[in-house]
């Protein structure tokens, strides 16, 4: 598919001026999907049909885990008359990820439309949008869009005369990475300390305030309107077969033109770096790429050839799609410094609930700082890998895994560099 990427017309962030204004959005076919759905709510677009359409489109969550979105929606129990919620996750605090804010800024109504369709499909009356607190101006931008949508009757009571009531509220985070984890996001929304919850019960059974809740990423929900408009078949033919659809690639690091670029899934990584992002700075070579946010295992340059950005291909290569926030590292990068900075982040952001993560993240950072300062010994590398084993899969949420994977894979893929740093000390002190 990668042949025609240059002629690809963006869907999430189309190149239309002032699209964030509701008039412009409507003029360009905005809210048509919603109107279509609500008009045919007793026929073609009955609630289950919307869910099934999204399911068969193969839309996979864009927040990192890549779970089938329609399938997730179908986990919601039958309505019992009580409240049900959608929590839209716009916390976006994974380092190297900055895609949702483009949606808030350039196409907020697409997200609102998607959220309303999702809420309709799951019989939800309240959508909470949890936005990263640092996104001050984007919160304002989305709020403006929400106000416009209320005025035009796309939100609120009796939407477009269909009898469907859906409200959408904004809630800003207070700066904790962990609140992007779906269960601590719910705790945070409830006004509690952002500690991840124990599963089961899963959010679809007991979510916000103990009621059925679905948590979706902002970008995920923004995909919904054009699945409705163009159909599941059309959507599933976009990009990689098992991981279809458009994706916002956030490319950062040592490239000439860093930024957010929209292309279908399955883009070759080298194409993204060399052609989309204008190649590595100062004509240097790529040393490594972090494909999907800081917690995804780093890939060596020699692993990149022929590698495409989709879940299957990246899994084979020993990494993950994550949030599709690529971070490109050039040949001058000190991998020890790089890894230390990542462990510093996870040490700072561990919520401290579970023992292995609370204590392990700090220990990882201390060991890496020691190696970085040239005081490391060989056995420190073994301890680092040991600690990863001690942390992985032994905590309530995935933060311990997210902290351990970069360490495990950076050391195993760049071990010679780490050993070289350790060796020097031995010579120097001997």
């Amino acid at each position: 598919m990668s042949m025609d990427w240059k002629s690809y017309k963006p869907l999430l962030l189309p190149n239309i001026k002032n699209l964030h204004q509701i008039d412009v959005y409507e003029k360009n076919g905005g809210y048509d999907s919603l109107k279509d759905v609500l008009k045919n709510k007793d026929g073609k677009w009955a609630k289950d049909n919307v869910t099934n359409e999204v399911k068969s489109a193969g839309l996979r969550g864009r927040g990192g885990a890549g779970f089938n979105t329609g399938l997730k929606w179908s986990f919601m129990p039958k309505p019992d008359g009580g409240p049900r919620y959608i929590a839209a996750n716009g916390d976006e605090s994974e380092p190297g990820t900055f895609k949702d804010r483009q949606i808030f800024e350039y196409n907020p109504h697409l997200f609102i439309e998607g959220a309303v369709i999702a809420a309709y499909a799951m019989t939800v009356n309240a959508v909470y949008v949890y936005i990263r607190g640092e996104y001050r101006s984007w919160i304002q931008k989305l709020q403006n869009a929400v106000d416009e949508a209320y005025k035009k009757g796309y939100l609120g009571k009796n939407i477009l005369g269909s009898g469907v009531d859906i409200d959408l509220y904004l809630h800003s985070g207070a700066g904790a990475y962990i609140c992007g984890e779906e269960s601590s996001l719910m705790e945070s929304l409830e006004g509690k300390r952002g500690y991840p919850r124990l599963k089961p019960p899963f959010p679809a059974q007991k979510g916000l305030w103990g009621r059925p809740t679905t948590i979706n990423n902002i970008e995920t929900l923004s995909n919904v309107p054009f699945i409705i408009k163009n159909g599941a078949d059309w959507y599933s033919n976009l990009g990689a077969a098992k991981h279809p659809g458009p994706v916002l690639y956030g490319i950062s690091g040592h490239v000439n033109k860093p930024g957010v670029y929209e292309f279908p899934t399955g883009m070759p990584i080298m194409t993204l770096i060399n052609e989309v992002a204008g190649g590595v700075r100062n004509g240097k070579k790529v040393k490594a790429v972090v494909p999907g946010g800081s917690s995804t295992p780093v890939l060596r340059a020699d692993q990149l050839e022929g590698l495409t950005m989709d879940a299957e291909s990246l899994r084979e290569a020993g990494s993950m799609m994550g949030t599709a926030g690529l971070c490109v590292l050039d040949e001058d990068t000190d991998m020890i410094d790089f890894l230390w900075r990542i462990t510093h982040f996870y040490h700072h952001e561990s919520c401290g609930q579970c023992t292995p993560c609370r204590e392990g993240t700090g220990w990882l950072e201390k060991l890496l700082l020691k190696i970085k300062n040239g005081e490391g010994e060989y056995r420190d590398l073994d301890i680092l890998l040991d600690l990863c084993t001690q942390m992985e899969g032994r905590t309530i949420c995935a933060l311990a895994d997210a902290a351990a994977w970069p360490v495990r894979y950076t050391i195993s893929r760049f071990r010679d560099e780490f050993e070289a740093r350790c060796k020097k000390t031995i010579y120097a002190t001997a």
Partner: protein, 579 residues
């Protein structure tokens, strides 16, 4: 019946529980910190990890799938599971450290993590000796640590409130204290602040942790992070002797343990009784240890004239009592029983005076309106009000009026500070001969002409009836001059009590009080007055009470010990006091 296989052993169960609780109920040990049977399950310490699997059920054949050896095929969870939060299911297979090296390793790893930022100051830590972290580290922990960096430093000696002191460095963030405040005492005063390895519990800024149940958090803290401000640095737990008892500061009948050393009660902690107090007790009850140790009446006291009193011998005290009682007519004697004294003492008091013709024994309840809550505090400040009601004592609505009658020449008061709680005034007692049987010095003993020192709840075995109609008994925890641990099997004996010598720091005779049980005093008096009142043990008195009063039918010390207290039948007023 559904079954579960733990380390290869088949166990049956009726109702599915959490695996950890089921194991604990069956005496199977598994290390854990954050789990507490009365609190919600956060599964945050990650210490109770086990390998768990379920058999593969073939729906078409309607049977479990078998492997090549004919054994059930087990599908194990991909990750280790925390036993505390894992629900049992039929045919589940659990592997603990006894059979799984993976689990053994995980427990070791987790303890290594917990200990890297723990100060390891056991030698000066109050929790040492009863510390789950210490015990489990010895049992399941690594031999050493590979951590060679500076530990994270956090605040120490934080006064969270009037009764609780926090050492944040020792905290392992199990959140038991936070959950206690949220779920049990419902004061919501504690939370965890900060993040990651800087976490520790704290109150909101400017607020105090003054929850009336705050010290329970000290009991449930699995490390020495929360310590009792009062007990801190006073004693090592392995020097203490632990004796069961009852909280005597209110009518709830909270079950407690009295911890003594050298015949001083050092602290009082709750004793588990799901029928009364679960694992908890009110802070006020813990303060009662002072009543047992301080300001005690030791040796009888007699008034010479005016304000002069002196200690005297038992012989003199007994003779004086006999003289006073025999020189007055029955209607000149006012006898006041006490809701603060035991059933046995009150019963013998009333029996003795019945024998000399005094038929009515009065008492005033000790009520403080508003002191109670719906949990473990009651308006009733005495431990035995219901008990003496059952004994046919007459509640006096106006003691002052009864005292003002010129007829009354002698007032006998069983251990009750009527003056201190303004049930009577000093003026009303003027001109009467006041005999007090008392445990502690007070306004009441100061105003008495004869003070007989009697044993307190920490020194005798005696029973009390709680406000909910539960009869429970105490055990002697500290010795008096006349009792001896080594010959009284009711008394607890600590290592120090058993092996200590006069050369030890904590062995002396100085804390033994010269007092006798109130019932024993009346037995001795009866002997001098040729009355038939002969008992050698308080359990004999209980036996007599149980045959004399229908409400106490079938009650004995043995039964109370067996059943951890007995719920009395709830009788109507007429049945309790048959006409």
């Amino acid at each position: 019946m559904p079954e579960i296989f733990i380390d290869g052993n088949r166990l049956e169960y009726e109702k599915p529980q959490k695996v950890l609780q089921f194991m604990l109920d069956h005496g199977l040990e598994l290390p854990f910190f954050c789990y507490h049977p009365s609190l919600s399950i956060p599964a945050n310490c990650r210490q109770c990890m086990v390998q768990a699997g379920t058999p593969v059920f073939n729906k078409e054949k309607n049977e479990y799938e078998k492997d090549e050896n004919g054994e059930r095929k087990i599908r194990f969870f991909p990750k280790l599971m925390t036993a505390c939060s894992l629900d049992m299911s039929d045919g589940m297979v659990i592997k603990t450290h006894r059979t799984s090296d993976l689990v053994k390793r995980a427990q070791k790893d987790n303890l290594e993590f917990i200990l890297i930022n723990h100060p390891l100051d056991c030698p000066i830590c109050d929790q040492a000796g009863e510390c789950p972290l210490q015990i489990q580290t010895y049992k399941y922990g690594p031999e050493g640590s590979r951590f060679e960096f500076k530990k994270v430093h956090k605040p120490k000696r934080i006064k969270l409130g009037p009764r609780v002191t926090l050492d944040a460095e020792r905290c392992i963030n199990c959140t038991r204290c936070v959950r206690f405040c949220n779920e049990i005492s419902k004061s919501n005063q504690l939370t965890i602040i900060s993040r990651g390895d800087k976490n520790y519990p704290a109150t909101a800024p400017g607020r105090e942790f003054d929850d009336p149940y705050s010290v329970n958090t000290v009991d449930i803290c699995p490390v020495g992070a929360l310590t009792s401000s009062d007990f801190r640095f006073k004693a090592r737990v392995w020097e203490l002797n632990q004796t069961p008892g009852i909280d005597i500061t209110n009518a709830k009948g909270t079950n407690v343990d009295l911890w003594t050393r050298n015949n001083l009660v050092m602290r009082i902690t709750p004793r588990y009784n799901p029928e009364v107090n679960d694992y908890w007790m009110a802070d006020a009850g813990r303060e009662a240890y002072r009543l047992f140790n301080e300001n005690r009446v030791s040796k009888p006291e007699i008034r010479l004239d005016g304000d002069n009193t002196t200690k005297t011998t038992w012989n003199n005290a007994l003779e004086t009592f006999v003289e006073q009682i025999s020189s007055h007519a029955a209607d000149e004697i006012l006898v006041i029983g006490s809701p603060h004294a035991s059933l046995e003492d009150n019963y013998i008091l009333s029996k003795f005076f019945n024998k000399i013709g005094v038929n009515d024994v009065y008492y005033t309840p000790h009520i403080e309106e508003g002191a109670g809550d719906n949990f473990l505090l009651t308006d009733d400040q005495a431990p035995n009000t219901l008990g003496i009601n059952y004994l046919d004592f007459t509640e006096s609505d106006d003691l002052a009026r009864q005292l003002s009658s010129n007829k009354v020449k002698i007032v006998v008061i069983l251990n009750d500070n009527l003056l201190d709680r303004s049930a009577v005034t000093k003026e009303a007692l003027k001109g009467k001969y006041v005999i007090s049987l008392a445990t502690n010095n007070s306004e009441m003993t100061n105003a008495s002409d004869l003070v007989i020192p009697v044993t307190c709840a920490a020194e005798h075995d005696a029973s009390y009836v709680s406000i909910d109609g539960r009869i429970q008994r105490t055990f002697p925890a500290k010795e008096t001059v006349y009792t001896n641990r080594s010959i009284n099997p009711e008394m607890g004996i600590s290592r120090l009590d058993r092996y200590g010598t006069k050369f030890d720091n904590w062995i002396s005779d100085q804390n033994k009080i010269d007092c006798i049980p109130a019932w024993e005093f009346f037995v001795r008096v009866s002997y001098r007055m040729n009355l038939d009142l002969d008992y050698t043990e308080s359990r004999e008195i209980m036996a007599e009470i149980s045959s004399a009063f229908p409400v106490f039918e079938g009650i004995s010390y043995e039964r109370m010990d067996e059943e951890n207290g007995v719920q009395l039948p709830s009788l109507k007023e007429t049945e309790i006091n048959p006409a």
